[in-house]
């Protein structure tokens, strides 16, 4: 900052300010959505239950990115790395140490929190495209780290690890898929409530102050360094838990599952859902799961192109994502 050749940047706020009330759904809407999520599995095939489970899991991962970007204004293209760490933590604990799947979730969360917090340290000094590159680097490095020879005994190397799917406990008469869905639903709701409260808390206000402008935030006494790394840690922890659930649902982990493509998908999910709007995370997750299927239904040879066109249509119609639709709906009613 002391260099003579200085350029003043203005209007470079990457993430627009979202008031904290606008970050959630009203109580009525929430209850309707919740009821639908609880009842739906009874009426559909197992594979649709599986898709719904994946929707919740990707929704959680997008939500985690939303806390980081929408909450604290830091941008990450490296969420697939945290997702992978969570998934491998669960897979290794379940398959090598016979630890119950439910117990591996908090462990994965803690491991990823530490990982994210550490990564947040150098990331502190970076912003904008520099942070994007750093996180992008993390995402490209992760599959290579997982393949390393000396880790092969634990990670299964390039072959990956097969994970056993848990049965419903207490002899409950439901399929593995349905049980896993309800299990995931409970975890998702818990994390969602935690996230909403986090953003409403003192820490959440600190995140948003940093997002809107770091300098006045620090002038007001916000410990910018601490809260920025904290946001990274929390985001990584939630992503890691999503990764754990993903490993159990898919019953398989391999380096090829956690490439940069996953990080980009999660990013798209956040944009489509609306940056900073937590319920939108699940809309975004639906987008990244179902729109590729729609695209290949339209044209197999050009599925990538059709996906790109659909994505363009969505961002033209609602450049602020699903949040825009929700806000428009609210102001009309």
């Amino acid at each position: 900052m002391s260099a003579a050749e200085e350029v003043v940047a203005e209007g470079h706020q990457a993430v627009e300010a979202v008031p904290k009330r606008a970050m959630t759904l009203g109580t009525g809407t929430s209850l309707v959505v919740l009821a639908a999520l609880v009842i739906a599995p009874v009426f559909v095939k197992n594979f649709i239950i599986f898709q719904m489970t994946m929707l919740l899991i990707y929704g959680l991962a997008v939500l985690a990115l939303n806390i980081l970007t929408g909450g604290s204004g830091q941008f990450s293209l490296g969420q697939s790395a945290f997702y992978a760490v969570g998934a491998y933590t669960t897979a290794v604990l379940m398959e090598h140490f016979n630890i119950n799947y439910a117990l591996t979730l908090p462990i994965a969360g803690v491991v990823c929190f530490g990982f994210g917090f550490l990564f947040g340290q150098p990331a502190l000094r970076l912003s904008g495209v520099y942070l994007a590159l750093a996180t992008f680097a993390l995402a490209t490095a992760m599959p290579q780290l997982l393949k390393l020879n000396f880790l092969e005994h634990w990670t299964g190397g390039v072959q990956g690890l097969v994970v056993t799917k848990p049965d419903a406990p207490f002899g409950l008469p439901m399929s593995q898929d349905m049980w896993l869905y309800y299990f995931t639903l409970v975890v998702t709701i818990a994390i969602y409530i935690f996230s909403v409260n986090l953003l409403r808390s003192r820490s959440g206000r600190a995140f948003m102050a940093i997002r809107d402008n770091e300098i006045p935030a620090s002038a007001m006494g916000v410990n910018v360094a601490l809260y920025k790394t904290l946001a990274f840690g929390v985001s990584a922890a939630i992503t890691g838990i999503a990764g754990s659930l993903g490993a159990i649902a898919v019953q398989f982990v391999a380096p090829d599952s956690y490439t940069i493509t996953l990080a980009i998908s999660l990013f798209l999910g956040m944009v489509v859902g609306g940056v900073g709007w937590l319920p939108g995370s699940f809309v975004g997750a639906a987008f990244i799961i179902f729109v590729p299927n729609i695209a290949e239904g339209i044209s197999k040879g050009l599925s990538g192109a059709v996906f790109g066109v659909l994505l363009f249509l969505v961002i033209y119609l609602v450049p602020h994502g699903a949040r825009q639709v929700a806000i428009a709906g609210k102001s009309e009613s």
Partner: protein, 292 residues
């Protein structure tokens, strides 16, 4: 010692690829103030166009010039049609647009030209350069073209009215508008130039890595890394960054025991990040002061 020299020379040769791409990255950053993830794919598509022209019997330099013009107009068209409507949308929405563009170009090229790799000619030949088998005349030619482009860009941005206007439009759009610069067209022009530079990069890279729809996938990350290392605002920095990344990557792969070879890209990226932590604007970039 011979191995060391060889790896450095090979690093320079590979670095020329990254440097070339980094120039296109710097160009677009100067114009729109962020990175275009579809840049590599645009370059790949241009290269395919030139290949197709040559298949139709047009000689190399003819195809080269037509492709350059096509890419320039194509870049402007993409901005006018696809990204101008997003001008008021948030930055992250624009990034999503780049990803969409990436998918569209990659998938269309695959459908039109198939995914099999194709041989691509070089105008410089591939004989050893100055007796060194490590750098071929093609790679030497590539370094030469990169340096020429660099000089051209330097003069363009420092001494031409339009170059200055473009810089002003990207970094301080409001003030630029106040002094009468048509910022919207400056952005389109930037897209056109970045696309044209990208097409040169593509046509120079293709003889080394072979032409196929995914040829730029690996190159783009190095191009970004090189540009960021050198400082996104400096064409010179981008080129130096390209060579440094190429050399460092080879040395890390050769001399770091155990994991060096498997992790040479992550190690190179980690080094860049460490540099950024010390010098947040890159080696040659201008510092940016934030205002409240």
């Amino acid at each position: 010692m011979e191995l060391f020299t060889n790896q450095v020379l090979a690093g320079i040769a590979t670095g020329a690829i990254y440097a070339c791409m980094a120039l296109a990255v710097v160009m677009i950053y100067q114009a729109i103030d962020h990175l275009n993830f579809a840049q590599g794919e645009m370059a790949m598509f241009s290269t395919f166009i030139s290949w197709q022209l040559m298949q139709w019997g047009i000689p190399y330099w003819g195809a080269f010039v037509i492709t350059l013009v096509f890419s320039f107009i194509g870049g402007i068209a993409i901005e006018r049609i696809l990204f101008k409507p997003l001008a008021k949308a948030p930055v992250l929405t624009n990034v999503a647009g780049f990803i969409a563009l990436f998918a569209i170009i990659n998938s269309s090229a695959g459908l039109i030209w198939d995914f099999t790799i194709k041989q691509y000619p070089t105008p410089f030949g591939s004989a050893p350069f100055l007796g060194s088998q490590l750098i071929s005349t093609h790679q030497a030619g590539m370094i030469g073209v990169t340096v020429l482009l660099l000089l051209g860009l330097y003069f363009f941005f420092q001494y031409t009215r339009i170059g200055l206007a473009m810089r002003a439009a990207a970094s301080v759009p409001e003030s630029a508008r106040l002094v009468g610069i048509n910022t919207s067209w400056m952005i389109a022009l930037g897209w056109g130039m970045a696309s044209a530079i990208g097409s040169i990069a593509g046509m120079l890279i293709a003889p080394v890595v072979f032409l196929e729809p995914n040829m730029m996938g690996g190159v783009l990350i190095y191009g970004f890394a090189a540009a960021v290392l050198g400082g996104l605002t400096s064409p010179f920095g981008g080129v130096v960054g390209g060579f440094l990344v190429g050399i460092f990557e080879n040395l890390a792969g050769t001399y770091i025991p155990g994991v060096g070879n498997e992790l040479k890209l992550p190690i190179a990226l980690a080094l860049i990040i460490s540099v950024l932590v010390v010098k947040p604007a890159g080696l040659f970039g201008r510092h940016i002061v934030k205002r409240v």
